[in-house]
Amino acid sequence: MALILAWIVPLVAWLGHGYPLSPAWGSVLLAPILWTAGLVRGRRLLLPFGFLSFVALAASCTVGGRLLLGLALLGLSLLAWDCADFFRLPASARALAVRRQAFLWSGFVTGTGIALAIGASFLHLVVNFWALVGGMILVWMLFWLLLREITKAHGGETSGNRSVSEPIK
């Protein structure tokens, strides 16, 4: 399922742009190729790159003025992203039920998210300069917190008595 969705994303992008024949469009295949390699060859580290490529594709559509297409691509990417996660659960009768439930949840959450974004696009908000600066600071603080969390998870910080095995000099 994740594979099918991953190949649908560039197809939708291509169709959304009126199926142009420019060879530059070949580059959008990079994301599903990364995704396929990640899923089929068991290299799960490639999946995040694939996902970020999908998000970049959606963002480029938005920059080009195709907001709805961008949102559709993002929605499909999120569905593929969720499927790639729960379809690697070990197969059993119970796992099928869990997968089905997870897929329904994913569809619901993504669908409502897209609907919210479309709804928000009809709002006309005026953001002044200081709100913009405040927003930037907030975003970068959150980014810093994320980085800190990632470093912690990899054992970047240590405490307590630890002995390190190394040759005696």
Binding site: L52, L71, D82, R94, A95, V98, A102, A117
Partner: protein, 423 residues
């Protein structure tokens, strides 16, 4: 704990929001809305305090088995909370406790009051198996948050070594104890085997009178039988890892089985049997009698493991103070060069020594392809081992070279005196 997936999603969201703010492009901000929604709603679906919502019970039956038998393990996980919980439960894996039927994991979503059962069978290998905690991974349906939990349900399964019932082993200790047994005491008294005749003494039973000898000699004589008494027997299991190096790992299991068979046989004969595990640490089980003591010995043997120790690397540090002089020492070991000297000294000090040598070549070469190189290697090893065994045997030690693919009973049955190497 936030998963890697959630972190990456958050990173994408921050990049989009940052670009939207930096370039004042509403499209980026609108794109970040589904991501924010997916991220926050996904995390909010994670159950609160899943540890308190779950009750885990494990049942293991039976908890004491012999090698080759199977154990049924049932794990029940019940949701006693008020929220729905999606989880992956796993029991094990435990070393030397392989799953032979069923699966040791389960995946499911539990509504309040529902339960999930894992049932599997295992054919564990010899040893004392400690089944520790049952592991559970609770996650939200979108896989953004996960919590790894451990539910301690410590249970022990004891797998005793499987052993042969030896029917006869005539090698006896040099000294006997003043208790009835089956070791010939080389003294006249009550027994089964004829020992001699002597003159009648007041108090002797009339039925023991040898009438024909009485008629010949003209004075009353009585028949004496050889007394049968209990003896001290020490089973010494070699647990020096060095002695088993290069051999398949199951050779040690065979050695343990041989030790169990010897100990069990001598206990059945009414002897006082002690057990010494020599090599890693000095584990000495004081000599005793009876079935309860037999069970103790089996428990000790079940837990026997190979190990290394500088102190006990050589057999010379065998604690002879623990072993009464004149007792029968049953040494189960593949033997190392240098051991024969110590064994010879033990014989010189008055012990009767029998070495049961589980043959490493019987296991190793049975599995190798029949090539010229393998044949040469086999012959070289056989010669080396033969030289070692000859030296051991010359010092008065009885040696049984045991091809572990065959029963041990047949070899020890024909063992009488320490003049041959039995193989």
């Amino acid at each position: 704990m936030i998963s890697r997936k959630a972190r990456l999603e958050f990173l994408a969201l921050l990049i989009l929001a940052g670009l939207g703010l930096a370039f004042r492009h509403p499209g980026f901000l609108l794109l970040s809305i589904p991501l924010v929604w997916h991220f926050t709603l996904g995390l909010s679906l994670m159950p609160r305090n899943p540890r308190e919502s779950l009750l885990v019970q494990r049942e293991v039956w039976p908890r004491r088995i012999s090698e080759g038998e199977r154990v049924q393990v049932t794990v029940e996980v019940k949701n006693i909370g008020k929220q729905k919980v999606s989880l992956f439960v796993r029991d094990g894996p435990y070393p030397r406790f392989p799953v032979s039927e069923g699966t040791s994991w389960a995946l499911g979503t539990l509504k309040p009051g529902e339960s999930l059962t894992i049932a599997y069978k295992s054919q564990p290998l010899r040893g004392l198996h400690r089944l520790h905690a049952v592991a559970a991974e609770v996650r939200d349906p979108l896989g953004l948050a996960l919590e790894e939990l451990e539910f301690p349900c410590l249970q022990e399964v004891l797998v005793l070594p499987r052993y042969e019932n030896l029917s006869r082993l005539e090698l006896a200790a040099r000294r006997t104890l003043p208790m009835p047994g089956t070791a010939r005491a080389r003294r006249g008294g009550i027994g089964l085997e004829f020992f001699g005749v002597r003159e009648y003494r007041p108090g002797d039973e009339g039925r023991r009178l040898a009438w024909k000898a009485y008629a010949r000699r003209g004075e009353p004589v009585v028949v004496e039988y050889e007394q049968e008494r209990a003896a001290d027997v020490a089973v010494i299991l070699d647990v020096r890892a060095r002695a088993y190096r290069g051999a398949p790992p199951e050779l040690f299991d065979h050695a343990v089985r041989a030790a169990a068979a010897l100990a069990h046989y001598h206990l059945r004969q009414g002897h006082r049997v002690g057990l010494l595990k020599y090599g890693a640490v000095l584990a000495w089980l004081f000599p005793g009698y009876g079935r309860r003591h037999g069970e103790k010995i089996l428990r000790e043997l079940a837990q026997a493991e190979l190990g290394e120790s500088e102190v006990f690397a050589e057999l010379a540090h065998l604690p002879t103070r623990l072993l009464p002089t004149g007792s029968l020492l049953l040494f189960v070991s593949p033997l190392l060069f240098g051991d024969e000297e110590t064994l010879g000294k033990l014989v010189a000090r008055g012990y009767r020594v029998l070495v049961v040598l589980p043959d490493p070549a019987s296991l190793t070469f049975g599995r190798l392809e029949k090539t010229w190189e393998a044949e040469v290697a086999r012959q070289v090893l056989t010669l080396e081992r033969w030289a070692l065994l000859r030296r051991t045997q010359r010092s008065g030690v009885a040696v049984v070279v045991w091809d572990v693919r065959r029963p041990l009973a047949g070899l020890v049955r024909k063992l009488r005196v320490a003049t041959h190497i039995w193989r």
